[in-house]
Amino acid sequence: MRLKINGRQEEVVADKLSVVELLKAKDVEMPDMVSVQLNGEILERAAFENTTVKEDDEVEFLYFMGGGRQEVR
């Protein structure tokens, strides 16, 4: 199926794909550390497993960005 992923048209060899499966296909090893927007709506992480993407969907994903002060190196 054809998807728009992070602004680019891509062909994915699958008829049905969960968000988790799509992230794995895009080499995202830690789906818990990304935010996903599907057709303009931000998904809750708990919904990644049960949300499927379909032909012509627009998917954006960005890594969680954060940090903090602990011991330095």
Partner: protein, 141 residues
């Protein structure tokens, strides 16, 4: 290497001062390792010791960069009281091996860049500040 216009470095310094004692953060957008725009982000943690981005602001920044034919090439945050080094928490939460993590130290008035591999290996990434079209100053090391 990543190149910043002096203007952007000044903006980061100003944002860091204004948001102190909390950490300040944002994205840099550009192309081919040259930063063109800065997108200040809200520190959702509003903390002197932590920062995190707000997802809807992240997606807005991505859209804005794309509309300007730019890419998000770096993430920056300030250390209000500590040196420009990756903390253990910074490394733990550095999940994107393709971006450059910039840290601006308020007391040092210095910015440094790092990349972090999936195996959490930290590598220094050169940062150059473009003073004008003919001259650059290296602020790393």
């Amino acid at each position: 290497m990543i190149t910043l216009p002096q203007r952007i470095l000044d903006e980061i310094a100003t944002q860091a001062a204004e948001e102190a004692p909390n950490e300040a953060c944002g994205y840099l957008a550009g192309r081919d390792g040259a930063a063109v725009e800065r997108y200040a982000m809200t520190n959702a943690d509003a903390s002197p010791e932590h920062f995190s981005f707000v997802p809807h602001e992240q997606f807005a920044a991505l859209k804005r960069a794309r509309e300007a034919d730019l890419e998000l090439i770096a993430v920056y945050h300030s250390h209000p009281e500590t040196p420009a080094r990756m903390s253990a928490e910074d490394i733990r939460l550095a999940n994107d091996p393709s971006t450059v993590y910039l840290i601006y130290s308020v007391p040092e008035r210095r910015i440094r860049g790092f990349t972090v591999t999936r195996e959490k290996e930290v590598r220094e990434h050169d940062v150059r500040v473009a003073l004008d079209d003919r001259n650059t100053a290296q602020l790393t090391g």
